[in-house]
């Protein structure tokens, strides 16, 4: 994308000119994350999480490739090869813990990224495609993480795989044959482990591809911003380099500190102890729980305890669990409010902070708790709100709400007046470049 005032790439070195004439990769980078990408000046720290998510993906791919060098996808030895990696491979423990906690970090970042989108209406025109691709990435991440958790072939790996693949059995008529076809057997076994490993190695690169599309689609209209007011003039934006490179840079530092503390001092805090017990199909764990990042959706799955007319409870749960994410695809068309940012939408804002966020946190908690009362009843209420929020409240609110007056421009929202347009933005970074 390009605003008229965006700087153009001019190769300084003869080699870069030679390169630019033949394969303009330097130009691509310059326009994507360099001085050629003009970004609203008023982004807050929630806008750092896209960059952090990209970092997490790279981290997972790098540590994952190293893990794969020492791993064997065979039910007889899979558990032992992970232990060998941790005990006998140089820095193997670091790779393992970084990869396992990297998945958690990725989901922390992505949940914040998604909820930033909810609050600031990032899904609205003209960024629907950015949003849709983002939901695709999230679904791919969930599939990848699920299959990755199966690979160590511990108790939770096996039983988690059994429960989740069992969901396909709820599909009428074709469910059971479909489940057996997907697993290559009647229960998760060597065939399943092998294909999960194959897909676990493949999907991250698919994610990488969709991430590129996600960024491409983002660069057409350019980044959104906390006011939701579109960019109007050159005083509204700053070039990505150096401004947002510097801001992302120090955000990466904060993220890396927190991540290092988790990896080096609490490497098993987010895992389940049962996964240090080798898989045993004859012994069911007391509580089968997936990894924490699936808990809200697992809670929704379990919230449907009663058959609904002719639909069995299990099928309702499966429909709802997938529906809970699929509904995000429709968000750009459910939320008709012309105002993007929750900051100027008093009613939407209330439902976001006092409805959606608490409901999501409750679902998180209940999904990790035992499938017993009172957690099931609490999760039923939270799930009820969740569906009501997206499918009923958002369409109704967007119809009846009276939004607050929007600032004239991003510059006005920052300075209280918009008279900086005369000052050239490119003057500011001169000292820094």
């Amino acid at each position: 994308m390009s605003f008229p005032w965006a700087k153009h790439y001019t190769p300084a070195h003869p080699f870069m000119k030679w390169m630019d004439d033949r394969l303009p990769i330097p130009r691509l980078v310059y326009n994507a994350v360099g001085g050629g990408y003009e970004v609203p000046r008023n982004l807050n720290y929630f806008w750092n999480f896209g960059f952090l998510a990209g970092l997490c993906l790279v981290l997972q791919i790098v540590t994952g490739i190293v893990m794969a060098m020492h791993y064997a996808a065979n039910t007889a030895v899979a558990f032992d090869t992970i232990e060998m990696t941790v005990r006998d491979v140089n820095w193997g423990w670091l790779m393992r813990y970084a990869h396992a906690n990297g998945a958690s970090a990725f989901f922390v970042v992505i949940y914040i990224h998604i909820f930033r989108g909810f609050y600031y209406g990032s899904y609205k025109a003209p960024r629907e495609m950015v949003w849709l691709l983002g939901v695709v990435i999230f679904l791919l991440m969930m599939a990848t993480a699920f299959m990755g958790y199966v690979l160590p072939w511990g108790q939770m790996s096996f039983w988690g795989a059994k429960v989740i693949t069992g969901l396909f059995g709820a599909i009428p008529f074709v469910g059971e044959p479909l489940q057996q076809w997907l697993l290559g057997g009647f229960a998760p076994d060597n065939a399943a482990l092998n294909r999960f490993f194959s897909l676990h190695y493949l999907l991250p690169f698919v994610i990488l591809g969709v991430v590129i599309l996600h960024i491409w689609a983002l660069h057409i209209p350019g980044s959104s911003n906390p006011t939701g007011v579109e960019v109007k003039s050159s005083s509204d934006t700053v070039p990505f380099y150096p401004f947002y490179v510097a801001k992302d840079g120090w955000a990466i530092g904060v993220f890396a500190i927190l991540f290092a503390i988790a990896v080096f001092y609490f490497p098993n805090a987010l895992g389940h102890p049962d996964n240090y017990i080798p898989a045993n199909p004859m012994s069911t764990p007391a509580h089968i729980v997936p990894e924490w990042y699936f808990w809200p959706f697992y809670a929704i799955l379990r919230a449907f305890t009663q058959d609904f007319f002719f639909i069995p409870a299990k099928l309702m749960g499966v429909l709802a669990m997938f529906g809970a994410i699929l509904v995000w695809f429709f968000l750009p068309w459910l939320d008709k409010s012309p105002v993007r940012s929750g900051g100027y939408r008093p009613l939407y804002r209330k439902f976001f902070f006092f409805g959606l966020i608490p409901a999501m946190l409750v679902l998180f908690y209940c999904g990790g708790a035992a499938a017993a009362e009172p957690y099931v009843m609490i999760s039923q209420l939270a799930a009820l709100y969740y569906f009501a929020h997206f499918l009923i409240i958002i369409p109704v609110v967007s119809a009846i709400e009276k939004p607050l007056p929007l600032p004239f421009s991003i510059t006005e929202s920052v300075l209280g007046k918009d008279d900086e347009a005369v000052l050239d933005v490119s003057a500011a970074p001169a000292s820094a470049v």
Partner: protein
């Protein structure tokens, strides 16, 4: 149109959930779930402080050696330690010669070089700790139908693993009268042993540490009371589960300090670049 469709789909899910909630609430009121002995009498692990705790934790090698001695003389009769090799014991402060001697004290599966028949031979440092039972069936047959679990990862395979092992080893007791009064059906079956730190209160393992001085103590070490032995073997199993703990702690300190330094620099350059640019 989209709005009406959306509200209808929303009603479908919310009504189904309300229905599930209503039925669940009704069941709760009419048939409140019965209390269980496990729920009321299960105890959380006791406190246990080890030298390896915390971000600056280091293993107490003397204690690990004592714990290893207890594993060797008591636990190894039934429990395997299959992820640990004899060579790993060098980390406990044993010399190369001592490791060789320890390994040679164990018989490991081998092959007769002349006949090719399966036999046993003295262990080498590269060997792993041998399993006490040939297979699960043999393990069950010898242990009242329970398989003694492998101990390599035990302290990571339970919540609060170190304290858990310590509590379990010191937690055997007679079944409380209050339990039997409230749950007459929950009497510990013959052949099992009551222990409130075990998830379902009754376990097949008989109390393994029964008498002070059960293992011989060497000079300079604390008296081997049951409590001390339980602590030592718990410390040893923390090591078997996480042998790289010290290196992890030390590396972590260096990494975090470096990252704080780099982040401060990053923050300063961020402030510098954005100086004069209101946002």
């Amino acid at each position: 149109m989209a709005r009406i469709l959306s509200i209808l789909v929303g009603l479908f899910f919310t009504v189904a959930l309300a229905w599930s909630f209503g039925k669940g609430a009704y069941t709760q009121i009419t048939e409140p779930p019965a209390a269980t002995a496990e729920h009321e009498f299960h105890l959380h692990p006791k406190e246990l402080h080890l030298a390896s705790d915390g971000p600056f934790g280091k293993f107490d090698k003397q204690q690990l050696q004592r714990g290893f001695q207890i594993y060797k003389e008591v636990c190894s009769a039934c429990h395997s330690l299959s992820h640990v090799a004899f060579r790993d014991l060098a980390a406990l402060g044993y010399s190369e010669g001592q490791v060789k001697a320890i390994a040679a004290g164990f018989q490991v599966p081998g092959v007769d070089p002349t006949t090719g028949e399966a036999n046993t031979r003295p262990g080498l440092p590269t060997d792993y700790f041998p399993k006490p039972f040939a297979n699960d069936t043999a393990a069950r047959a010898a242990n009242n139908n329970a398989i003694p679990p492998d101990l390599s990862l035990m302290t990571k395979a339970r919540h609060e693993g170190g304290p858990y092992v310590y509590s379990l080893l010191t937690g055997f007791q007679a079944q409380p009268a209050a339990l039997l009064k409230e749950f007459p059906d929950a009497k510990t079956p013959d052949g099992l042993h009551y222990n409130p730190y075990f998830a379902n209160l009754n376990l097949a393992m008989a109390p393994p540490l029964t008498a002070d001085g059960q293992v011989e103590s060497s000079p300079g070490n604390p008296k081997p009371t049951v409590d001390q032995m339980a602590k030592d073997v718990s410390a040893f199993l923390v090591w078997t589960a996480e042998p790289k703990l010290e290196k992890r702690n030390q590396t972590g300190l260096a990494v975090v300090l470096f990252l704080i330094f780099a982040t401060v620099l990053g923050y300063m350059s961020y402030r510098n670049i954005w100086a004069g640019k209101k946002h």
